[in-house]
Every structure is written in C-alpha cells, then in structure tokens.
Symmetry: C2
DNA sequence: AAATATACGGGATGGCCGTCCCGTTTGTCG
DNA sequence: CGACAAACGGGACGGCCATCCCGTATATTT
C-alpha cells in the first residue's frame, strides 16, 4: 500500500472521505504495478480495471495520466536521491559515484515506468523533478565531479554521457539480473581510470 | 534519392508507370528523412505531406506503415552487415568487433528509426531481418565469439549485453558527435580485457 | 434517522491516426 | 489523337484512448 493522504501535504484542507482515501490508494497501487510492467503505454482504463474502480475515479484523483505517472515517479526519484546523498557521505567519491550508478540501474530495471522516465521516453522526468525541487541532474553532476577530482573517473566524461549509459543499461527487454550486473560492470569499468577487474 | 525500381527485384512483372516510380522514390526519401528524425512515431500523413503526395499514394506503394519502415530499415541493415563481413576479413578479431560496435552506433545515431529498430522500440528489427535472410544477431555473435577467443573481450559478456549497450549509446536525444565517441569509448573499454586508454 | 456534500461508475465526447475506397487525373500504347 | 489502364488525392471509416460529465450511491454530520 501507499500513503493514504491527499496530494499536496499543505495542511488538511477539508478532510477527505474515507472511501476517497481508500480508492486513491488503490489507484496508486494499481498504477505503480501497471507502469512498472508496461510503462507509460498502459491505458488509464487498464489501471482503473486493476484498481477495481471506474475511470472517472482515476481522473478525479489525478487530472491527467501524466499527473498520475509523475506522482509515482517523483516519489521514487526522491527516495533514490536521498539514498544518493547518503552514499556521498559514507563512501569515497569514486565508489559513491559507481554505487549511485548501480543503484539507479538496478532500481530502474525493476520498473519500466522509471526506466522510461530516466530515458526521457515520452516524458521529461528531469524537468518534472526540478519543478518539484528534486535535482537529479545536479546530484549526478556533483557525484561525477567529485569522482573525477579524486581521479577515479576519466576527466572528459560528461553528465549526459552517464545519463545515457544509465538509460542504456535499462533499455533491455530480457534483462535478467546477471545480465544487468554485467552491463553495470562494463560501463563502470569503462568510466574508471584504473582497472581492478573484480 | 533512392533506387527507383519496384519492391522485390524479381524480374520486371509488368513495367511500372513513370510517375509511379517517381512517387515511390519520393515517398521513400521522405520516409527516410522523417523516420530518421522522429522515428516510428511519425504519422503517415506527415510522410505523405513531405513527399508532396496524398496518403493514398503512400498506402498503395507500401500497404502498411510497418512495411514502409521495414523497407527502409532492412536496406540499411543489409549494408551494415556487408560492412561487418568486410571488417571480419580485414581486421584481427578484437578490432573487428570493436569497429563493428562503433560503426553501428555511429550509423544509428544519425537515424532515430534505425536506433529504435535496434532497440526494439515498437518494432522487432531482428525478427524482420531474419525473415529477409539478414542475420544481425548471428553476425554479432560470431564477431563477439572470435574476439573473446582471441582474448580481447571479457569471456562472460553475452550477445544481449552488447546489443543493449549498443542501444544505450543510441538512446540519447542530445547526441553530438564527441559525446557519442566518448560513450563508444567507455563501452568498448569496459568490454576490453586489457586497457590501452587511447 | 434525515440531510447534504462528496465520491463513484462508466458512458459520451473529441482527437489522433492508419487504412481503404472511389471519383478524377494522367501516362502509355495502338 | 483517342482509348484504356494505372496511379493519384484526400475524404471516409473504424479503432484506440484520455478526459469530462452527470445521474446514482454512500459516507459524514447534526
């Protein structure tokens, strides 16, 4: 299940009806599952069906399909950004950067919707995130710069390169877990200045 | 411009009218440009408009949008496969493999349609190619196996990994040429057993 | 328990797009 | 030059889908 409160946490505007909260949560859960499996392409109709509600109920809680998608994706982005901040504190710059990369790929791989958001397929996640005060690009930029200053990552690599390769590791239909790890390793080794090779 | 003949080169079934050939070529050219820019998402109407013909003319020459897309993509795939066969003869296994990878990425980067075909976005290029006797997967597999036998590429890497990473280097909206080369280098270095670093 | 606002469902609406059709035009051959 | 088939154009059709609307059902309040 998911948080049961109203959309924006600005006070309690009026107190929601109980079935309202319940259905909202049902829709969110159904949407999370549906988007994870089929990405943005899933019809709203289908989400409503899964949630066991009418399409009107979906529309009322989330005015557009994009709004629903965004609510879900941004929540996940926020969690991952928090995680990345912790990484930056606990680890050396190099490992922090590589771990950040791996975490995002692993998470995105379980979630077609997030992967599409990261790849910018039909939805500009970064812009939406920025609108909500979540600076994905900035976080990546900092970790990359630190890792480069520490000499762990080739100096000529740019943020966009990393994002694209991240997306690359996600754009795979038959991604079983070992395959994903191999791809992560390939890209990380390619970015690394020295080569430990496991 | 493009080849002006009828679809399958099996003899001359009936002799096409001159305007027929001309319009067919116009449609192909327009479609090549449109698919390269916008990928499969481009509406057939738009292709017709660009070609300066009616939508009916497009439909008549190519019964479905997919058929048109396929005609274009497979022609390019064929050329690239020929090129890859030449690489396999002229170069050592390792360099041949890396060059193959680079060539496909460079080519695909100029062509959103081809990139989508490679990534399997809404169209299974490999299956279509196989139907036409073009074995993309097989060619890649051979080059990879040879490079691995020669010890140039990590032994645990699989064909699917390479395809996915190839796709990854293509899934980038803001791909200027140096960025593309950086990504190619990153991935190739990551796959390579020893690390020359330029 | 009655009153009222809130939420529900799912059909109606409108837009987009691929494909097909048919009245009209035009190239080709005798 | 005349006749005929080939090709054209673009409107019609049908399917898909997001969004909106409104009569009905129900939670909440007094």
């Amino acid at each position: 299940m998911v948080e049961t409160a109203g959309s924006a946490g600005s006070g309690t505007p009026k107190a929601m009806r109980a079935d309202g909260r319940r259905n909202r949560a049902l829709v969110l859960d159904a949407a999370i599952a549906a988007f994870a499996e089929a990405g943005l392409a899933v019809p709203v109709h289908e989400i409503a069906r899964r949630a066991g509600v009418g399409t009107g109920t979906v529309s009322r809680h989330f005015p557009t399909k994009e709004a629903l998608f965004e609510a879900i994706v941004l929540e996940r982005v926020e969690r991952l950004l928090t995680q990345s901040r912790e990484l930056a504190e606990k680890l050396e710059p190099g490992p922090a950067f590589f771990e950040f990369f791996s975490v995002w790929v692993r998470e995105g791989a379980l979630n077609l919707g997030l992967a599409q958001a990261l790849c910018g397929v039909g939805y500009d996640m970064e812009a939406a995130a920025l609108r909500s005060g979540l600076d994905f690009g900035g976080a990546l930029k900092e970790l990359l710069a630190a890792a480069q200053s520490a000499g762990s990552v080739h100096a000529d690599i740019e943020v966009g390169d990393v994002k694209a390769l991240m997306a690359g590791c996600l754009t795979r239909s038959d991604a079983d877990e070992p395959a994903r790890e191999r791809m992560i390793r390939i890209v990380c080794e390619g970015m690394r200045t020295s080569e430990p090779r496991t």
